[in-house]
């Protein structure tokens, strides 16, 4: 399960950044990968669709969001948490 969440999130971010999944490293930030605010909102939408979850995120206060977007690894961990909480997995 964990690996598949990680792979799917990386695939979504890679597609948004127009990179190969192998080039998306866990420690990278979205701005390292060239993803801007619209790209972020689109990535979150793709994550919600892929995992059938609700991601709490307000673009006006990204730092106060429960959804940590500080790095690729943080996003993966946050998605794992939401999947566990919302899908009971």
């Amino acid at each position: 399960m964990t690996d598949s969440v990680k792979d799917k999130v990386i695939a979504i971010i890679a597609e948004q950044a127009v990179l190969e999944p192998g080039d998306v490293t866990p420690e990278a930030t979205l701005s390292d990968l060239g993803i801007d605010s619209l790209g972020l909102v689109e990535s979150i939408f793709a994550i919600e669709e892929a995992f059938d979850i609700q991601v709490p995120f307000n673009a006006n206060e990204p730092d106060q969001s429960e959804f940590d977007i500080s790095s690729v690894a943080a996003i993966i961990a946050a998605v794992e948490g939401l999947v566990a909480a919302q899908k009971g997995a």
Partner: protein, 403 residues
Amino acid sequence: MRRVVITGQGTINALGQDVPATLEAMREGRCGITDLELRDVDRLSIKIGGQVKGYDPEALFNRQQIALYDRFTQFTLIAARQALDGCGLSFAGELAARSGVVLGTAGGGVNTWDENYRTVYEEGKNRVHPFVVPKLMNNAAASHVSMEWNLKGPSFSVATACASSNHAMGLAFQLIRGGAADVMVTGGSEAMLSFGGIKAWEGLRVMSKDACRPFSANRNGMVQGEGAAVFVFEEYEHARKRGAQILAEVVGFAMTSDAADIVMPSKQGAARTIAGALRDAKLNPSDVCYINAHGTGTAANDKVECAAVADAFGHHADNLMISSTKSMHGHLIGGTGAVELLACIMALRDGIIAPTIGYEEPDPECALDVVPNVAREAQVEACLSNAFAFGGFNAVLALRRAP
């Protein structure tokens, strides 16, 4: 040069169903943002808005009219009737030919789209009402105003997202100043508070779930509103000769494009537009005491707008007042500049500056006098009204006290 004055005003919005009620609410700093009442609200994550409550279209329009008038057209006609009934003009002959209507709306008949998509997609019906197209088209409101008051001059609708009304009023001003018309009915309307209209905005993740707090450090997004405001713009000599009541003078207008980003605002674009409006109006920065801000309550807009005002006004930025009445009536999208012009006219005529309510924490990036929470008295000779739309289209109007 022909001068342009405002000789009529009308409105319906979340603060009131006419101008006196709206201005009273602005003076008192009352909030018109409430829990939304609409179908399937439980499926929305945003459940608040500046919704017009206690509104009964059947009391105002007959069945045939309601079949043709989307909610945005109804709002327009209500506001137009107040503006035109009070202004003392009747349109016939040459005056009718020299009078037109230009109105802003971003979405047009959003409720009509929404209801009829339900009919064909959700309910699976294969037939819709025959008037769907004339009801939903963006120019429907302007067209019905032209028919109701016999306006036969230049007439059209403008859709530039959140700047629609300011563009419409700016063009009305230019048409009169340039000699193409003597009277223009202008302003704008929006009725986007439907399930689909809110769901679309939710997607961008820029909406607040609790309040619109422009310029406050803890602001967390915009809140949609609905309604209309309509004005009568008239050539000054025409108005003077007939002894019309003059509410204010429109002295300048500027519009620019950022040519940069589809949603992010630009400080340079906004500053360039403000400076252009001052130049067009032949105003010195120090003549301006008040700006009605675009002030959406998003993180991005408010800091960029304050930086643009600081750029355009230099040290005078610290002396002027800038408030966002969206904190009270919400963001009427394509109708917002029109409702906000009411606050500008109140500042010029009554010397009362509408406040920015919901202001809780100073933001160093918005370090201007935003007239927090409480209205203020001030003698205002000239003011600006800002609108900076998605798509990078900017429109700023400059007004002066009635001559």
